[in-house]
């Protein structure tokens, strides 16, 4: 019925539009489907296969990989993988919290400066993150290695044993994560502070609110969307980090990303690696979803959408 109500020319126009849509979108959609969607689906399938003699996945289907990820091997339960998982969560939590603590006053300070300086200040915060991640991390290796001034200082304060050096250690990994992700928190927080409604703060002051109460009721809620956006941008990539724990942890402070990568190179076990990758994906999507939900409830959810 609807068809017949369309004139011939309009129908031709609809067909033309559809052909246009297919022509413009197909190459890219096909590219991403073939070279990313199919590989990810394959990886998910691998997680449910059995580990073959050469580390390659084989039939039959099983849940062995997930059992191994939880620590159950030939010799019963061992805590190695569980430690790695817990360490990934802990490092993500601590580094995100530290990034917030540093970025919050920093973003506020930039908004109090003269307007003509602000772009330059933001650029100064961002430029280090433009350099290659491997190089930045290498810089920290040089700074924290045994015998360097920082390590000597920590040693004389009794924080570390003699000739230990600050690297490799869990501490070095946390530091590397904070360093790496600081700009990702400063930018959204700066955006939130910049459009802060000052009238609310003045109203709070006029009503004799103490500075702490004024901050908590008039300033903090207004910066919450920026804070959430920053948390998504920091916590999700931090959880899957590979380079920093590999270089600054020196094999002792593995995170999930290293566990996964290792299964595809030296001690091959593709299904176990794939199971770890699924866990990482789950964490990513749960994180994104949770932030969107919270962001919507707060209103101003647009910023939270990456």
């Amino acid at each position: 019925m609807v068809e017949s109500s369309l004139t011939a020319s309009r129908r031709r126009a609809v067909v033309g539009e559809t052909r246009h849509l297919l022509f413009s979108v197909t190459p890219g959609a096909a590219w991403i489907t073939v070279f990313l969607v199919l590989p990810s689906l394959y990886l998910m399938a691998v997680a449910f296969m059995t580990n073959g003699p050469y580390g390659l996945p084989e039939m039959p289907l099983s849940l062995d990989a997930f059992r191994q990820l939880a620590g159950f091997g030939f010799l019963g339960w061992s805590p190695g993988n569980a430690y790695t998982l817990l360490r990934s969560l802990w490092q993500t939590f601590v580094s995100t919290a530290l990034v917030v603590i540093v970025a919050y006053p920093l973003a506020y300070y930039i908004t109090t400066c003269r307007e003509k300086w602000r772009p330059l200040m933001l650029l100064a915060v961002v430029v280090p993150s433009w350099t290659n991640q491997v190089i930045r991390t290498f810089g920290w290796m040089n700074l924290l290695a045994p015998g360097t001034p920082l390590s000597d200082l920590a040693e004389s304060l009794g924080l570390i044993g003699p000739h230990m050096g600050l690297y490799p250690s869990d501490f070095a990994v946390t530091l590397g994560l904070v360093y790496n992700f600081l700009p990702f928190m400063v930018l959204p927080l700066y955006a939130a502070f910049e459009k802060l409604d000052v009238a609310q703060v003045q109203a709070a002051q006029d009503l004799y609110a103490s500075p702490v109460r004024a901050f908590w009721h008039a300033v903090f809620p207004q910066t919450l969307p920026g804070l959430l956006a920053g948390t998504v941008l920091v916590a999700i990539p931090a959880f899957g980090m590979y380079v920093i724990p590999e270089l600054l942890g020196g094999g002792k402070s593995m995170m999930l990303g290293n566990l996964v990568a290792r299964q595809f190179s030296g001690g091959s076990n593709w299904p176990l690696g794939a199971a770890g990758a699924i866990l990482m994906l789950l964490a990513t999507f749960v994180g994104l979803y949770a932030m969107r939900r919270i962001g919507r409830r707060l209103g101003g959810g647009e910023e939270v959408v990456i």
């Binding site: 022509f23 890219g28 070279f35 290498f138 810089g139 899957g240 590979y242 990482m280």
Partner: protein
């Protein structure tokens, strides 16, 4: 009075954080001029590591690989991404949810999952058919995959910022779609195309994880070479090549600052 102390404290904190941000880079640059092979002790200023760099065939080939990879992948991504961006704009009133999901997928997927699933997939295809031998080819495929979304989104947002009546005017002026593209679309898109190309190029040059997992034995890029050298034991030559890369980034920052400076009449 109290406010002033607060501000002074914040200013101090600002400079401290800046020191924190630039310290690791400064150390790399400083030790690239060290005359002895040590990361803890600075003896004398010398350019010997830079001289060694010029004779290092592996570094030169890694540099070449990085450039080829970045240029070729950016050009392919520019063409494909532009088409998607235009399609997304022209058909923005339709339900394109699946397309949006597809476009955001490369952005939200953790690097390590991205790299490993492509590696596993390429390896299996290679075992079955002999195609997709790990090397520059597979790296180009992987890089294009993560560049497409950025190009598409930049082009799309440029279109959204345009006056829709311009498209009608262009339709009246130029009859053939080809002429319309040549005289209207490409000139209006030029700034977006340039920034999309440079973003793709930068993403490609900067990438380590995805390159690392899709690379073959002969196709190491600069970050992969540096990674390998660090893992094998640090040589000061890394400081030299890393310093050059840091210098390039600072130069890019300076250029972007000069171009984006608000112009006064």
């Amino acid at each position: 009075m109290r406010k002033r102390t607060l501000n002074r404290g914040l200013a101090g904190f600002w400079w401290l954080t800046l020191a924190f941000l630039y310290l690791p880079l400064a150390v790399v640059v400083l030790f690239s001029f060290n005359s002895v092979n040590s990361a803890a002790h600075f003896a004398d200023v010398s350019l010997r590591w830079y001289h060694q760099l010029l004779g290092n065939e592996q570094i030169l080939s890694a540099f070449r690989n990085s450039l080829i990879l970045a240029i070729v992948s950016s050009v392919i991504a520019l063409v494909i991404g532009c088409l998607i961006g235009y399609g997304m704009y022209r058909h923005r009133h339709r339900k394109l949810g699946w397309l949006i999901v597809l476009i955001y997928l490369p952005i939200v997927l953790p690097d390590i999952v991205f790299g490993i699933s492509e590696m596993a997939f390429f390896v299996q295809i290679n075992r079955a058919t002999g195609l997709l031998e790990p090397g520059l080819g597979t790296m180009i495929i992987a890089h294009v995959t993560f560049q497409i979304p950025f190009v598409a989104l930049i082009v799309y947002s440029r279109f959204v910022g345009l006056d829709p009546t311009l498209f009608e005017a262009a339709k009246d002026l130029y009859a053939s779609p080809f002429k319309r593209a040549l005289h209207f679309l490409i000139p209006t898109l030029k700034p977006a195309l340039i920034s999309a190309f440079f973003l793709s190029f930068t993403l490609s040059i900067d990438d380590f994880v995805i390159s690392f997992f899709t690379a073959g034995p002969e196709s190491a890029t600069l970050p992969i070479y540096i990674w390998g050298a660090i893992k094998k034991g640090v040589t000061p030559e890394i400081n030299a090549i890393a310093s050059l890369m840091i210098g390039a980034v600072l130069l890019a920052a300076l250029v972007s600052l000069l171009f984006n400076r608000p112009r006064r009449r």
